[in-house]
Each structure stands twice: as C-alpha cells, then as structure tokens.
C-alpha cells in the first residue's frame, strides 16, 4: 500500500502540473477544450489526494507499522478514533491533510463558480494547482508520509504523543487548516482577477463567502487552541503568545481587515488595491504560519523540530509568491484606481480605514515580535525572548482602540456624519459607558485597563442594541408589521450587516473575558491531608492522595473538597498521569470548577507519597467562560451572515401571514437561544475534570520530579519576577517560571526566592540570570538598550507609518474630490440640461427608479 501511496502522490503532482499548464494555455488560446480538460484534471487531483488520504488512514487503521509515519504516530493499543486522527498528528501527515483539504475546497469553489466566473476559472485552477504542487513537492522530496522502513520492520508503533490524545487536539488542527486553506481560495480568485484584468467587483462576490467560511474556521481553531491550552497545559492561562498561536492569529487579523474593507469597496468603490493586497497578505501569512510551525525557525511548544531544508523550501516559495503577486498588483495598478472619494473624515469609510490600520498594525507587530528572537540571533548571535509581557503591553491599548472602533463604526453614516447626527447617535452609548464606568468605579474597581475595557464593552453593546432597536422601528414603520417580524426582517434583509453586529457582540464577550484576566488570583501551596487553603470565596481542603493504575497509565490523584462561602461545592481531583512508554512526560490533569463569574482552576504540581502532602497551584480565573461563549455568539453571527436569503423569506414579506410568521419567529428565537442556554448550563455545571494529557516536554532538563515542593511566593517583587523570567529548559515553549511545571523552573523559582530574600533588586536579579545563561534569553522581554531598542522602536515606527499612510491616502481621496467636484458639477449640469430637454422621459425614469427602489427592499 505504501508504494501505491507514493505513486499516487507523484501522480497527483503530475496531474496538478498538467491542470495548471493546460488551463493557462486554454485561457490564452481561448480554447474551451483545454480549459475543460484542465478542470477535469483539477478534479482528478482532488480524487487522487482523497485516495492518498484514504490509503494513509487505512494504514493507520490496520496498523501498517512498516510505514515510518504510522510507526511514529500510532500503536496497536490506541483507540480507533485516535488511530484515525493520528493522520494529522505529525508533520508529514498534516501536509498531506492540508493538500487534501485544499484540493477539496478548491474543487468545490471551482464547481460552484464555474459558470458565474467563467473568465476567472482557468487561472483559479492554475493557481490552486500550483499551491498544491508546492506542498506535494515537499511531500515527495522531503516529508513523504508513505516512507517505509527498509529493514527491521517494527512490530508495534511508538504511539501518538499523549499530549495530542484529546478530542480538542483532534478538531483543533483540522479547523485551523480549514481556515488556512479557506484563505487560499480568495487568493486564487484575486490573482485570477489581476491576471485577467477583470477587476470589477465580481471576484469579490465570489470570494466573500469563502473568506467568511475560512475566517469562521480560523476563529474556531484559535478558540479551540485556547481551550486546549487552558484545560490541558495547566498554567492557568489560555494565550501565551506562543509562535504557533501567533501564526494562526496573523492571517486572522488580515482576514478580518479584508472582511471590513471589502464593504468599502462594494459600497463606495474605494480601497481596491488595498483589498487585493490584503488577500495576498492573508495567503502569504497562512503559508508563513505553516513555515514557522513546521521548520523550527522559532522555538515553540508545538514546533516539530528544526529543519533547515524545509525552511529553504518555504522561504523560496514565499518569495516567489510575493514577487508574482505584488508584481501583478503593480502591473494592474491603473485598473485599480478608486472610483469614489472620501466625503468626510467623520464617516464610516474613515472608521474602516482606521480599523484596517489597527488590524494590520496588530498583524505586523505580532509578526515582528514573533520573529524578533530569530532576527536578533542572526544579527547579534544572541537569542532573546519576547515574552507575553511584551505582547500584552502593546496589545492592550491596541485591543482597546479596536473595541472603541467596533462601537464607533456602526454609529457613523457612510460618506458623512454631521454634529447633530453624532449627538443623536452617541447619546445613549456614551451614557451607557459613563454609567458602567461610574458604577464599577463606585464598586471599587481601580484597575484602569479593565475598567476601560468594561466601559467600552458597555459602549459597544449599547451601540449594537441601539442599531437593532432603531432599525427594527424604522422597518416596522416602513412595513407595518410587529416589532419582532420587523427585527427578523431587518436581519434578513441585510444579513451581513446584522450578522456582523452579532459578531461584534461575540467580540465584546471575548473582551469581557480578557478584562477578567487582571482580576486573576493565584496561589501555590503545599497541603498536608486535612489542611485547607482559602482563596477568594473558595476554600480547598486536601482530603487524600491516591495512586491508581488502569493498565494504560498510572494516575496520581489528589482529592480535594471545595466549599464556596462556607457551603460545600463538590470535589476537585487534579491529577498527574504517567502514560506507558511516556513515563518521563507525565501529563497534568487540571481540575476546573466552572462558573459564569469565575473558574476555580487547580493544578497538581507536585506530591509526596510519604506524608501524603500535595503541592497545588490554585488559580481563580474570573470571566474566562465568557470567552468561549463569545465565540459561540461570533459563530452564530457568521452563520447568519452566510445564510441564504430564503431562510428569512417569511419575515421579508411585507404583509406577513400572521400565524405562520409568529410561529416561525418563535422557532427562530428558540433556535437562537438554545445554544446560549446550553452554554450557560454547561458553564454552571458542577466541577468537571478534564481528561487528557497535558504539558509539552520530553528529555533534557525537563523532567518532573515526583516530589517537587513548590515555594510559595512571598513578596510582590518575587511574584512579579516569576512572570518576568522564563524557564530555560528548552522544551516548554519558553513559558515563564511562574507557569512552567518542570523541575528547572522550580529550581529557578528557588533561586529567585533566595535572591529576593537577600534583598536584591529587580535589576540585580536580572543580572544574575543573564550572567548565569550568558545572554538576555531568560528575560521575558528584552531590555531596552542597544539592538534591542529596535524591538521597542519598531512598533512605534510601524504604527506611525501606517497612520501616516492612512492619512495620506485619505487626503488624496479628499483632494481627488475637490478637483473632481468641478467636473462632477459639469456632469451634473449636463445631466440636468439633458433632463430638461426631455422632462417627460425623465419623469418616467424617476417613476421607474421609485418602483425599483420599492422592489429592492
């Protein structure tokens, strides 16, 4: 079977090459015969990739351990489910999976748009085929998943990484890949439009849905990744700015920017160059993301190890793509000129411009920060760390600005807003903001960032509510139905707009969860049986430590009784699991008691069997569950935006049949509320122990001693330092020592504690660790001096250059307006004179216009 697999890959490569070549030839010679054949070959690639996927899954299912990839990622005792999903558990398989998904998506996209975008299709086929070729090429020459052992075929496999044996990790990669792959389709259409020169808005229509689908999957994948990190890695957080997480986030930012700016192009015919650029950038960033995670250029929890050759392959591909794409953009620049102009600075266009600038800045900043250690290594030969502190410092204000824009954007009218409207529009949202801020301040919240964030959340929520209420009222007046039908009709009539608002509600909830972070509390304690710890409203009593074995793994479990405000609130059982064959990497089983207000999160960090004592890391994470809920709302909004018109037909009728409408309406409301209620229920459910392995790790300094006693931080300085110094074990993905669970981190924590106890200052502690490791690497963010100043300067520079660029573009548009307004006046004068000459005809046209407008509803 393995040789058949290799053969299929080779065949797929040849067929993809054929498809690309013959489609371009067909398009140039205007030969339908060639193009048809090319499309057929394109489908053939899809079928071949499906075949290859089926072969490898078959090999996993039957346990064909002669294939190296199967051997590395599976063994005979693995459950069937994980044996199948081991397909994308490693590097080679995930590339195969990627191409498979891309070919399926591509085939669907080509099939759907075959007739409506006849002129673009040949080039779309060619471009997707070339991308497929690149990945198949990598597989054939470098990472063949069908490689076999030549001699000594092992009897059994090595088993899948325990870390990945969790349902979350099973759906997370496919979801991210689907998102990435989804972004290739817009790129292919964009490039086809550039090549053919059919640069009207038709390609955008073909692409919009695909971008939304890709975006949805990307968001889903990112959220799953966050849940995974939160529930499996056991450091109490969900986003550690790991390079791989960042890799998924980069295209998310540019895709979000595209989804916004595409509206400007559709409505106003502006930002045409910009949209093409965003599509190209999104695609490049998805490739770049794969490159970062697969080639080991940056250190990360997820990285598959260093691979110079692969790095070169990816780099050359990316350079080729960039040159090709931007070359065409420049070539087609004359066709991409804006058709309209900016009427006013206080308009939605301007708000979108600002939004795009911020989103792009975020993407560039994260890209830069992720690459900075590599950059620094190549320039100065010293590897540094750019840790969460650095990111958070920048992303906090950026996030808040984005939140402000989320609120302001919908309030502004296209083209122009005047002072009176502004007052009218902003009255309630500002009142809401002020009330929230005042209320929270009165309640004693002094954390300025969180306070601002909460207030802004209120601002955006009120804005959106106002939009819905006013819109429903307007529609009610216009159509004469009841409020609810009007509301549904409103959403149905402009699904993208109101779906978008619902997405914004989701974003608000997510921000709410982020803001809760600053009220996070954590404690590290050693408890003997019977002892208790009180943190916030929770009291934890250590009851017993038990060691059990279920044949597959040995489990060390601490049994803790929880009470909240003195009332018993169930039991939590954090554990460490030692899998057979992976004993050196115990997994941390976090125990979480979930609640809408706060999560109690307990990690068994260490234990001592002799005297039954346990070392616990206890976190109280406020509002975390709102992040997941927010994603649910976001997905719902996206689906509403994607739904076809007919779904809402019942409420779009002007005089609805009352009975039918009402029932359907309630059905719909029920449908909308159901997932919400489900989430709430789940959120309130009693303590859940999440099963599954956690913690990256492996050999070297990263072994977890069974009886590591934790040192509880005593002073604020020590606590802060635990978040400013990172673990140097090299396996944990550069986590901060306060978060890492390995023995080296424990040792480093001990050193910090000693130094602080000796009365050393922060700088002296820094100096101590820098001396010990010979570089600034152990510091979570680079010290602002010398070359490192770049790290701090670049964001400013990029930000201001971007702002400047946006202003210049806007000025140019305004300028274009002032010069063109003269000719515009001429044109309108000509219009009116023409109108005067045939006034009867004009009246007729006006009437028709009114008719059409009525029909357009």
């Amino acid at each position: 079977m393995s040789s058949l697999g290799s053969f299929v890959l080779l065949a797929a490569f040849v067929v993809a090459a054929y498809a690309a070549a013959i489609c371009v030839a067909g398009a140039r010679r205007r030969s339908l015969r060639f193009i048809e054949s090319g499309i057929g070959a394109f489908y053939l690639t899809t079928a071949l990739m499906t075949l290859a996927a089926a072969i490898i899954i078959h090999a996993f299912v039957v346990g064909d351990f002669a294939i190296k990839y199967v051997n590395q990622n599976s063994d005979s005792v693995q459950p069937l489910f994980y044996r199948i999903t081991a397909f994308w558990g490693g590097l080679d398989g995930s590339i195969l999976f990627w191409v498979f998904l891309l070919s399926v998506f591509g085939a669907i996209a080509v099939r759907v748009n075959r007739d409506s975008h006849r002129e673009l299709i040949p080039y779309v086929v060619a471009i997707i085929s070339v991308v497929e070729m690149f990945f198949i090429f990598i597989m054939v020459v470098h990472n063949n998943p069908f490689d076999t052992f030549l001699t000594e075929i092992p009897k059994d496999g090595r088993g899948m990484e325990p870390l990945l044996q969790t349902p979350l990790m099973v759906i997370h990669p496919p979801s991210l890949y689907t998102g990435f792959v989804g972004m290739t389709i817009p790129y292919a259409f964009g490039m086809a439009a550039l090549i053919t020169g059919y640069l009207d808005d038709s390609w955008l229509r073909a692409v919009r849905r695909w971008t939304m689908i890709g975006w949805l999957f990307l968001s889903f994948g990112l959220t799953l990744g966050m849940i995974w990190a939160y529930e499996e890695l056991g450091w109490g957080g969900y986003w550690g700015w790991d390079p791989v997480e960042n890799a998924g986030l980069l295209p998310w930012f540019t895709a979000t920017a595209f989804l916004h700016s595409v509206m400007v192009q559709e409505r106003r015919g502006m930002l045409r160059v910009w949209n093409v650029t965003l599509v190209i950038m999104t695609f490049l960033l998805t490739i770049f993301g794969t490159f970062m995670t697969r080639s080991g250029v940056v250190q990360s929890v997820h990285a598959f190890g260093e691979d110079k050759q692969l790095a070169w392959l990816f780099t050359s591909f990316m350079i080729a793509v960039a040159v090709f794409s931007f070359g065409f953009v420049i070539y087609r620049l004359p066709l991409l000129r804006a058709r309209n102009e900016l009427d006013s600075w206080v308009s939605r266009e301007a708000a979108f411009l600002a939004n795009n600038w911020i989103l792009l800045f975020s993407a560039l900043f994260i890209l830069f920060a992720t690459m900075f250690p590599t950059l620094s290594e190549s320039v100065r030969g010293e590897r540094l760390t750019v840790g969460p502190n650095f990111y958070n410092k920048w992303m906090l204000p950026i996030g808040l600005i984005l939140l402000v824009l989320t609120g302001i954007g919908p309030l502004l009218a296209w083209r122009k807003s005047t002072l009176t409207n502004l007052r009218d529009q902003f009255l309630w949202p500002v009142v809401g903001t002020a009330v929230t801020a005042g209320g929270l301040f009165a309640l004693g919240i002094r954390e300025w960032a969180s306070l601002t964030c909460f207030a802004l959340c209120a601002f955006v929520t009120v804005t959106i509510l106002q939009e819905f209420v006013r819109g429903a009222r307007v529609r009610q007046r216009a159509t004469g139905t009841d409020v609810f039908t009007a509301l549904v009709g409103l959403v149905g009539r402009s699904r993208r707009r109101y779906g978008g608002y619902i997405i914004h509600v989701g974003i608000v909830l997510i921000f709410l969860g982020f803001a809760g972070q600053s009220f996070k509390r954590e404690e590290q304690v050693v408890l003997n049986p019977g002892q208790t710890l009180t943190l916030g409203s929770f009291t934890i009593r250590h009851d017993a430590l038990r060691i059990t074995d279920d044949g597959q793994k040995q489990m060390v479990t601490a049994h803790l009784a929880i009470s909240k405000n003195g009332n018993p609130a169930g039991e939590l059982d954090p554990a460490k699991w030692f899998y057979r064959k992976h004993e050196e990497q115990p997994t941390t089983e976090v125990a979480i008691r979930r609640g809408p207000g706060e999560d109690l999160y307990v990690v068994l960090a260490g234990y001592d069997v002799q005297n039954q004592s346990v070392t616990l890391q206890v976190f109280i994470n406020p509002l975390v569950n709102w992040i997941w809920t927010g994603f649910g709302v976001l997905a719902m909004g996206t689906i509403i935006a994607l739904l076809p018109e007919s779904t809402f037909a019942f409420a779009l009728a002007k005089v609805p049949a009352a009975a039918a409408t009402t029932t359907t309406l309630w059905l719909l409301i029920g449908m909308l509320l159901a997932p919400w209620a489900g989430v709430r229920l789940q959120a309130q459910s009693q303590p859940t122990i999440l099963q599954g392995p956690a913690d990256a790790g492996g050999a070297g300094g990263h072994s977890e001693g069974a009886s590591q006693a934790y040192i509880v931080p005593r002073t604020p300085l020590e606590r802060e330092l635990q978040h400013e110094i990172i673990c140097m074990c090299g396996d944990c993905g550069r986590r901060r020592i306060g978060e890492c669970t390995c023995s080296l981190a424990a040792h480093m924590r001990g050193q910090v504690a000693k130094l602080v106890a000796e009365g050393k200052s922060r700088e002296e502690v820094y100096a101590y660790f820098m001396a010990q490791y010979g570089s600034e690497e152990p510091l979570a963010s680079p010290i602002d001096r010398g070359f490192n100043r770049l790290a701090w300067a670049v964001p400013y520079v990029v930000g201001s250059v971007g702002a400047l660029g946006a202003v210049i573009i806007a000025r140019r548009w305004s300028h274009a307006k002032s010069t063109s307004s003269a000719s515009g006046a001429d044109a309108s004068a000509a219009d009116t004179s023409a109108a005067a000459s045939s006034s009867s005809r004009n009246a007729e046209l006006e009437e028709r216009l009114a008719d059409e407008l009525r029909d357009l509803d």
């Binding site: 048809e36 078959h58 009218a413 407008l853």
Partner: protein, 207 residues
C-alpha cells in the same frame, strides 16, 4: 459528460460505467481482504471508492481533449459593459436605500440626505438612461416593426388572410419596408435587388 452513449430512453452515461466498476472492485477487495475487521473493510472500500472517483475524474479530464473544439464563448464587449452598468445601477440603488435607512435611523442630517440623495438619484437616472440606450437599438426596431405591421394589417385585411399561414415562419414578411418576392414569396430587405431565395430580380419585379 453530456455525451449519451445509449439508447431506448435509458440514459447510460459514462460515469455509470465507472460507478459499476468501482462497486465491483470494492466488492472484490472486501471479499479478498485478509484482515476482516469492520474498520478495515470500511477503509478498503472507501479507498476503492476514492480510486473510482479518480478514474471518473481522469475520464473527465481526457474527454474534452478528443472532443470538438468549442471556442471559449467570448462575451461580447457590449454584453460585458451592460452587465457592468447593471451592477453599477444596483450599487447606486442600494446606496439610495442605505441612505434612506440611515436617515430614518437618524444618522444623517436632512440637508446632507437631500444633497446626497439627489446626487445618487441623478446618477441612477443617468445609468438607467444609458442602459435603455444600450438596448434601445433592438427594442426600437421591434417596436417600429410592430407598429408598422399593425398599421398595415389594419389597412389591408385581405392581404392578411393570404399571408397568415406564412407569417408564422417569417414574421417580418408583412412589414412595409420589406419586399416580398413574387415568385417564391420570400421576404427580402427593402433595399434588396435580388431575392435571397430564388434570385429573382426584385427591382424589376417591383418597378
């Protein structure tokens, strides 16, 4: 894949052949499989199905090459331009709608609304006029034709009776501006000098 290879109303298409072949192959593979656990059998058949799909796609890729060459139907420039105009019009109409909605939501001052709305409406009317003009050519011709024909019929009921059977075949026959050949009764253009069917000298016949 529209080439129908069979008869008697049963549309046997080429892909049916591949489906049958695939089913046979899958059955054979399942029967001969050494490991007979259910998941193995399912995977084996799925693999064979994928191979079958590949063979259909291969056929689909090769058939156009041996088929007749059909030139890529180039949309006429006029057609494209018209489509662009239509799109532009829809865009403007939507903008007007949006503007009205924004006004109703209280986001827009009345004078701004009036000014923008006027501009957009003027633009929409202009576009509509352009659109009318672009298909005015055929439409006006038809209208003229119809009018003259009706007039003629009203004037000459006798002739109408004689022409009725033929009129369906060549609707333009009765139009005054055209010449009916006296020998074969074919309609010819007004300025035709010879009948396009039988070659009779029309000019002489009418003179």
């Amino acid at each position: 894949m529209s080439s129908v290879t069979s008869t008697d109303g049963v549309n046997f298409r080429p892909w049916h052949f591949f489906v049958i072949l695939t089913l046979i192959a899958a059955t054979a593979a399942v029967l001969t499989a050494r490991k007979t656990s259910p998941e193995n059998l399912v995977m084996v058949s799925l693999t064979v199905f994928a191979a079958g799909a590949a063979s259909i796609a291969l056929y689909r890729a090769l058939v156009p090459l041996v088929g007749k060459e059909r030139a890529l139907r180039a949309e006429t420039l006029g057609h494209r331009a018209r489509a662009a105009l239509e799109r532009e019009k829809t865009l403007v109409l939507r903008s007007i709608k949006e503007l009205e909605f924004d006004r109703a939501m209280g986001k827009l001052a009345q004078e701004d609304f009036d000014e923008m709305s006027q501009r957009l409406r003027a633009r929409a009317v202009g576009l509509m006029r352009q659109l009318d003009a672009s298909h005015a050519a055929p439409r006006e011709k038809i209208e003229q034709e119809l009018a003259s024909r009706l007039a003629r019929e009203a004037r000459d009921p006798q002739r109408r009776a004689t022409q009725r059977p033929r009129a369906a075949g060549s609707p333009a026959a009765a139009v005054a501006a055209e010449i009916i050949c006296e020998t074969c009764e074919t309609a010819n253009d007004a300025d035709a000098r010879f009948c396009k069917n039988c070659g009779t000298n029309l000019a002489r016949a009418h003179a």
